[in-house]
């Protein structure tokens, strides 16, 4: 693999033989006179964890929002599985298989774990109870929720009938991640998943990310935390001043190098 996919001018060149599952080409997004994204490209390959790092205002969030339908880019193209996609709202990206775990933990505190996993895509009972009376299959959903958590290796959530508000921060994050990872999603995007968590809970979430990768689900991880990024990422996309400064790997560069590129102290 090429260690450095240098700036965006060259970013279009096919430096990889694999086909990216998600690909953004020369995205531009401006907010009035402020340029959020200045022709950013990004490739996410199957089965990898791609970290996106960058200083505040470098365009990380805008980039992610464009990829997940929360913002519509002014220019540029996004391809999912090689096909061009045009997301107008988060639901579009959601429907296409891009699941996002938001910083503010989008879970419903009063509902239980299983209900949260299935929120917005409840399974109805078979037969007339489900079709006419629209009764949900509570038992089935709880069982599936248990299976799903087990498969993801989430051992901290034994009881899926507990209301989410009674869980710790790490457990809640696990619920949010499990929801994103379940149901055959193609890409999971995690926005600062450990920002609000303690050390032990952060480690649980990192384990979870590795689990996702091992199951073949590619992950985009936005983070400020360099040690964590270097721990889980296969490749690291460095955003600087609205552009992609470089894409590096933990093997090719040190943390110091990454910070230097991020701040502009060194060139990629």
């Amino acid at each position: 693999m090429t260690d450095t996919i240098a700036p965006d001018a060259a970013g279009d060149a096919a430096t990889e033989t694999r086909t990216p599952i998600l690909r953004a080409r020369r995205l531009v997004k401006t907010f009035g006179r402020v340029v959020g994204l200045d022709g950013v490209s990004l490739e996410l390959y199957p089965g990898e964890v791609l970290a996106v790092i960058g200083d505040n205002g470098a365009g990380k969030s805008t980039l992610i929002k464009c990829l997940t339908g929360a913002e519509i880019p002014d220019e540029g193209e996004i391809f999912l599985d090689g096909k061009p996609v045009h997301f107008k709202r988060p639901q579009d990206a959601h429907a296409a298989g891009i699941e996002t775990v938001y910083q503010n933990l989008a879970v419903s505190p009063a509902l239980d774990v299983a209900a949260n996993l299935f929120l917005g895509r409840e399974v109805r009972k078979k037969g007339i109870l489900g079709s006419v009376f629209r009764v949900v299959d509570q038992k089935g959903m709880r069982q599936k929720a248990k299976d799903e958590l087990k498969e993801l290796g989430i051992t901290t959530l034994q009881d899926v009938t507990v209301a989410v508000e009674n869980l710790s921060g790490g457990q809640r994050q696990a619920v949010a991640v499990a929801r994103a990872a379940a149901f055959g999603s193609k890409v999971v995007v995690l926005d600062e998943p450990t920002a609000a968590l303690g050390v032990r809970e952060s480690n649980q979430v990192l384990e979870l990310i590795k689990n996702l990768r091992d199951r073949g689900i590619p992950v985009i991880l936005i983070s400020h935390n360099m040690p964590q990024v270097f721990d889980v990422a296969d490749r690291i996309h460095i955003q600087r001043l609205g552009k992609r400064a470089a894409t590096i790997t933990p093997e090719s560069h040190s943390m110091t190098d990454a910070v230097a590129i991020m701040t502009g102290a060194a060139r990629a």
Binding site: P109, L119, R134
Partner: protein, 346 residues
Amino acid sequence: MSQPTTEPPTSALDLAEEFLDRTTPLSRIRSTLHRYPAISPAIVLVLSVIVFGLLNDRFWNPANLSLITQQVAVVGTLAVAQTLIILTAGIDLSVGAVMVLSSMVMAQTTVQLGVPAVLGIFLGLVVGLAAGAFNGFLVTRLKLPPFIVTLGTLNIFVALTLLYSGGATIRGGEMPELLTWTGETFNIAGVNITIGVLMMLVLYIVIALILQKTAWGRHVYAVGDDPESARLAGIRVNRVLMSVYLAAGAILALGAWIQIGRSNAASPNAGADLNLDSITAVVIGGTSLFGGRGTVWGTLLGALIVGVFRNGLSLAGLDVLWQTFAVGVLIVLAVSIDQWIRKVRK
């Protein structure tokens, strides 16, 4: 967890944390109440029934029990609509006004225009739905706070009612029998139960089942809990809100029909207290004004508590004002308990 010795498996640690979290009896009570918010109103109802029963023998008189149920029927029905709206973190100050408007439409169309009773009730239902749609439109499309919206529509509906009816009451005797049918009684174990009370109970069962068993019910809770999270989970928040206001409108029309039977008349001045009384029942029933928590069963208990208090205090010979005083104390207590319970949330 004071000594970080060898690291036990994380799950065991988490269990230990959970355990440490709830060691005091008080916090255990709190988390139980948190999980089952209808427990505290149930206790209050049982205690008040016992106390009032001891204070006055006539309390247990079948005729008196029948009276309590009838007094609760209308406000209990309106409170179901109110519960749905409060679960979405809204509030509806116009429920009584909508109910009265709907009842006037039912009565006037049948008596003055001579339309068949079934059609009259249907027209009342249409008015209820239209009022709900109007409230829902203002809340979801214009993004106005429900409190302000319904404060405005309360006045609008009250004025429309008076304009439409000319301020005149229509007596039950003039109406087709179907309209006053909700006031008919039948006897269960010596207690006279009206059709209206029965309708109210069926309504509670139906709405409770819908809230518990359907995806829509979960979405109502999710939207009230945290609308942004619900949206990100793929729930169409505005659609859920709109459906809640429509459902409330339909329930209010049912309340209108029950009201006609209960008072054997349709009066444009009937519902003034009901706007707030329905909120009282919901709040005493343990449903949180902040949305996302509560049950219709709690609301039924809340409505019964208010009914029992008013009845028991008047049997005890206290001034009517003390009834109002007691209800006020109950509201403050209920909200304090809710606040205390919600502290479980970290």
